[in-house]
C-alpha cells in the first residue's frame, strides 16, 4: 500500500473490530522512541504519541503532567497544561475540589454524589452505566447444578430494593448482562421478579425444603459496579436467608479474590464487568464462551450463538442471536445480573466542554477552564506505566488516551466511531479485509512522521512475540490477546 494507507487482514470476521481498534492502548507510538528504549525498560515512563497532549513529567504516586502538543494536526487543545494528581481517599478528593486546589476529581464516593450535587460551585458528571455487577453461581458445585436452585436464587433477590438502598439514583437494576445502550442489549427482556414464595417452592421441588448452607464471596475492595461490596453481600445474604439459603460471607483482597474465584473455588460470588468497547461480545463472550472455571462448564448452544453473532455483519441478524442468548442466560441462570451502576466525576463550574466517557477515559482536548489554561484532575491511583498496550489498569489508560491516538476513535462521551489517525476506511463484505487511509502531515511528539510504515511497525511490535521490540512492561501485551484472540502464529 502507499505511504499513508494500510491494510489489515483478519483471520476471522470480527463485527466489533472498529470498536476494538478505538481502544486508546492501540494508538501508535513513535518507532524511533520505541527503538531508543529497546521496546521496554524505561519506555513505560517516556511515551511519545501523536495526541493533543504530550508527556512532560511524572512524580510517582504524586502527579503526571502533560502539555499541549505544539503544531498539533487537529484543533489544538485550549489547555496548556493537564495534571493528573493522585489523591487516594474519596473524601480527600472532594475536599481538594471544594478547596479549589484541583479542578476536577474522578470516582466520587456514592455517598458524596448528593453532597457534590448540592454544591453550587461544582458540576457532577455521571458516566453512562456501561457495566454490570452480578451474582455468579458455580454450577460445578452442587446443589447449583440444579437449574431450579439457581432460579430460586434469582427469585430470592430483591434487586430493585438493593439498588434503591445502596446506589445513586442513576443506577439501574439489571435484567441482563449487556447494559442498555450497548449493542446486543435486549430492550424488552423481563428479568426475574422478586418472589421469595416461588423461590421456596422451587427449592422444595429440588429437594431442599429447608434450604441449605453455602458460601457467598464478596470482593475486598469497591469496584465501579459494586462500590460497597460488603453491603451488597449483606443484603444478598439476608435475601437468601429469607428463603432458607444460609450463605456464609467470604472475602479476600482483589488480587487473591480474582485468582481463587476464576479457579472455581467459590460457590456464589460477586463479580462484574466494565465495558472496554460498546458491543455485546465484550460482556457475553467474556463470561459464557468458556475459559474460566468460575461459572461451571459452558453451555454448548450458547457458545455457538455467541460465536455466530461475533462473525455476523448484518446488525439485525446479530441482534436476533443476542436476543436469544440473553433469554437463554436469564432462563438457565448461570449468574444473576444485579446492577448497572454509573460512576461519577465532579468538576468545578469553571470547567467546560467535558463529556463523561462511558469507558472512564475522558478526553481533555475539548475542555476549557475559565480564567486559566491549566487543569488539575484528582484521581484515586497512579498509572502503572504508559506503554498502555501492555498495562492493565484504568489509571494508565486515562493518561494514554490524551497522548496516543488510535486509527479510529470514539467521539468524546459517546460510543460513536469517528476518524482518528485514519481519516477514512473500507471493509470487505466478509469483514476480513480492512483498509485504512491515514491523515497526511501528522507528526509524533518527537517530530518524526506518522505514516503507514510507523503504524505497521507498532502492529508488528504488538502482535509478533518474535519482534525484537515486543518487550513492553511485562511482555505479555494482554490487551492485544484479549481483544484479538492471540499473537502471530497462534
Amino acid at each position: 500500500m502507499g505511504s499513508h494507507s494500510l491494510r489489515l487482514i483478519l483471520t476471522r470476521p470480527d463485527a466489533a473490530f472498529l470498536y476494538k481498534l478505538a481502544f486508546p492502548a492501540f494508538g501508535p507510538q513513535s518507532p524511533a522512541n520505541i527503538k531508543k528504549y529497546g521496546g521496554g525498560g524505561d519506555l513505560i515512563r517516556h511515551p511519545v504519541g501523536t495526541g493533543p497532549f504530550r508527556f512532560v513529567e511524572w512524580t510517582p504516586d504524586d502527579h503526571i503532567t502533560l502539555e499541549r502538543t505544539p503544531d498539533y494536526w487537529g484543533t489544538p487543545p485550549a489547555l496548556h497544561t493537564l495534571t493528573y494528581r493522585v489523591i487516594k481517599e474519596a473524601p480527600a478528593r472532594l475536599l481538594e475540589l471544594q478547596a479549589g486546589t484541583v479542578d476536577g476529581v474522578d470516582n466520587l464516593s456514592p455517598d458524596d454524589i448528593p453532597l457534590a450535587q448540592a454544591d453550587a460551585a461544582l458540576d457532577v458528571y455521571l458516566r453512562p452505566p456501561f457495566n454490570v455487577g452480578f451474582l455468579g453461581i458455580n454450577r460445578a458445585h452442587p446443589p447449583f447444578d440444579d437449574v431450579r436452585v439457581r432460579q430460586a436464587v434469582a427469585l430470592a433477590i430483591d434487586r430493585e430494593e438493593l439498588v434503591r438502598a445502596l446506589y445513586p439514583p442513576t443506577a439501574q437494576a439489571a435484567t441482563q448482562f449487556v447494559p442498555p445502550g450497548i449493542f446486543g442489549h435486549t430492550e424488552d427482556l423481563e428479568g426475574w421478579a422478586y418472589d421469595p414464595a416461588r423461590a421456596r417452592a422451587l427449592l422444595a421441588e429440588a429437594g431442599y425444603p429447608d434450604g441449605f448452607r453455602t458460601t457467598l464471596w464478596v470482593m475486598g475492595i469497591g469496584r465501579p459496579y459494586f462500590p460497597h461490596p460488603d453491603r451488597v453481600g449483606e443484603v444478598l445474604q439476608a435475601d437468601l436467608a429469607a428463603v432458607g439459603i444460609q450463605a456464609e460471607l467470604v472475602t479476600y483482597d482483589w488480587g487473591t479474590y480474582l485468582e481463587k474465584m476464576y479457579a472455581g473455588e467459590a460457590d456464589l460470588f460477586l463479580n462484574g464487568w466494565m465495558a472496554d468497547f460498546p458491543d455485546a461480545t465484550n460482556f457475553l463472550d467474556t463470561f459464557f464462551t468458556g475459559g474460566d472455571d468460575n461459572l461451571g462448564p459452558p453451555f454448548p448452544e450458547l457458545v455457538e450463538w455467541l460465536q455466530a453473532a461475533a462473525a455476523t455483519a448484518d446488525p439485525a441478524g446479530r441482534q436476533a442471536l443476542y436476543d436469544r442468548a440473553n433469554a437463554f442466560i436469564r432462563d438457565h441462570v448461570p449468574a444473576v445480573p444485579v446492577v448497572h451502576n454509573s460512576s461519577a466525576l465532579a468538576f468545578r463550574d469553571t470547567v467546560h466542554g467535558l463529556a463523561a466517557s462511558p469507558f472512564s477515559q475522558e478526553l481533555f482536548y475539548p475542555v476549557t477552564v475559565d480564567g486559566k489554561d491549566h487543569l488539575v484532575f484528582g484521581r484515586s491511583g497512579d498509572s502503572v506505566g504508559l506503554d498502555c498496550v501492555d498495562e492493565s489498569d484504568f489509571e494508565s489508560l486515562m493518561v494514554c488516551a490524551q497522548i496516543f491516538e488510535p486509527l479510529v476513535a470514539f467521539k468524546p462521551g459517546t460510543t460513536e466511531i469517528v476518524p482518528g489517525l485514519a481519516e477514512r476506511w473500507e471493509v470487505s463484505d466478509d469483514l476480513l479485509t480492512w483498509t485504512f487511509y491515514l491523515r497526511q502531515g501528522v507528526k509524533f511528539h518527537d517530530g518524526t512522521d506518522l505514516d503507514a510504515e510507523a503504524v505497521a511497525f507498532n502492529f508488528e511490535r504488538w502482535w509478533d512475540p518474535e519482534n525484537p521490540y515486543h518487550v513492553g512492561h511485562t511482555g505479555n501485551f494482554v490487551h492485544w490477546t484479549y481483544y484479538f484472540g492471540g499473537f502471530k502464529g497462534e
Partner: protein, 359 residues
Amino acid sequence: MARHIARRLFLLLPTLLGLSLLTFVLIRTVPGDPAQVMLGEHARPEQVAHFQAEMGLDQPLPIQYVRYLAHLARGDWGESIKTNLPVRSELAQRLPATIELGSTALLIACVVGIPLGVLAAHRPRSLFAWLATEGSLVGVSLPLFWLGLLASHFFGYRLGWLPPSGRLGLEVEMASISALWGGSPLCGWVPGVCAGVLSDSLSNFYLLTSLLTGNVPALADALAHLVLPAITLSVAPLAVIVRMTRACVGDVLAHDYVRTARAKGLSERATVVRHALRSAALPILAAISLQAGLLFSGAILVETIFSWPGLGQLVVDRVLARDYPVVQGIVLATGLLLVAVNLAADVVYALLDPRIRYE
C-alpha cells in the same frame, strides 16, 4: 562505648537476616499473585505463568530466598515487579518524604509534650494537670484517619489556611540539591552524589534542599504542606510523651534531694529543670525512641489521607500489588532505620547518665 556500638552493629546482621526471612515468607504466604495483579482480569493462564517464570516466582521458595540474599549481599535490593525500577531508587524517592514527616511529627511531640508533662507534674492537682492528662488520653484514643480528614477539612477547606493535601505545590520548582556542589571534584569522588540515586534521595528532603539552596518559595510551600500531616501524626506520640513526662517528673519531685534543692534556695525553675527533669530523662527518652517505631505505622494512615508520597503509601500500594521485592525492601529499610534510632538512643542514655557504661 565504641565496643558497645560495634557489638550492636554486629548483632544487626542476624537481626536483619531474621527480618528478611520473616518478611520473605510472610508476604508470600498471603494469598494472591503479583502476576495476576499486574496482568489483570484479561490475562490468559499461560501469560500469568510466563510472567511468573520471568520474575523467578515459579522457583521453590528456598531457592528464591537464597537468590535474594545473594543479590542483597552485593547491594542489589532487586527490581520492583510493578514499575521495573530498582528497589533502591524507589526507596530513595520515598524514604526522605517519610523521614521528613516522621521526624517533624516527633519534634512537635517532644517540643510540646515535654513542657506540658513537666508543668502537669509540677502542679499535679491543678486544672491544667487534669486537662493535660485527660487530653492526652483523648489524644491516644483518637482515630488518626478521622483526625486527619477533620484537620484537612477545617484548615484546608473551611479556613483555607493550608493546603488540604500533597507534599509540594504543582507550580513550585524544587532544584536538585546537587546544585550546591555540582561541578566540584566531589562528583568524581562519591558516585551518585551529583546525579543519581544519592542526589535524588537527598533532593527529596524538600525542607533540607530548599533551605540549603536558598529556595525560599519552595521552603515556604513545603512547610505549609507539612504542617497538617505532621501535627496529625504527632498527636499520638505527643499524648504518650505528656503522660510519661508527667509520671516520671512527678516521681522525682517527691524525692528528698528535690526538697533539699528547694531548701537551699534554688529557684523552682532550676529545681524542676536541672534536677527533676534530668533525672527523669531516661524513661522519657525510652518512651520517645519507642514512639519513633510506632510513627511509621501511623505514617501509613496519615500519608494516605494527605496524599503524602512516602513509604507509608508505597507499602500499602505494593502489598496490594504483591510487589514482593519492594515490600521486602521497605521492611528492611525501616528495620535499619529503627535500629539506628535505638542505637542513637543508647548513646544519648550514656551521655545523660554517667552511671551507664556499656560493657
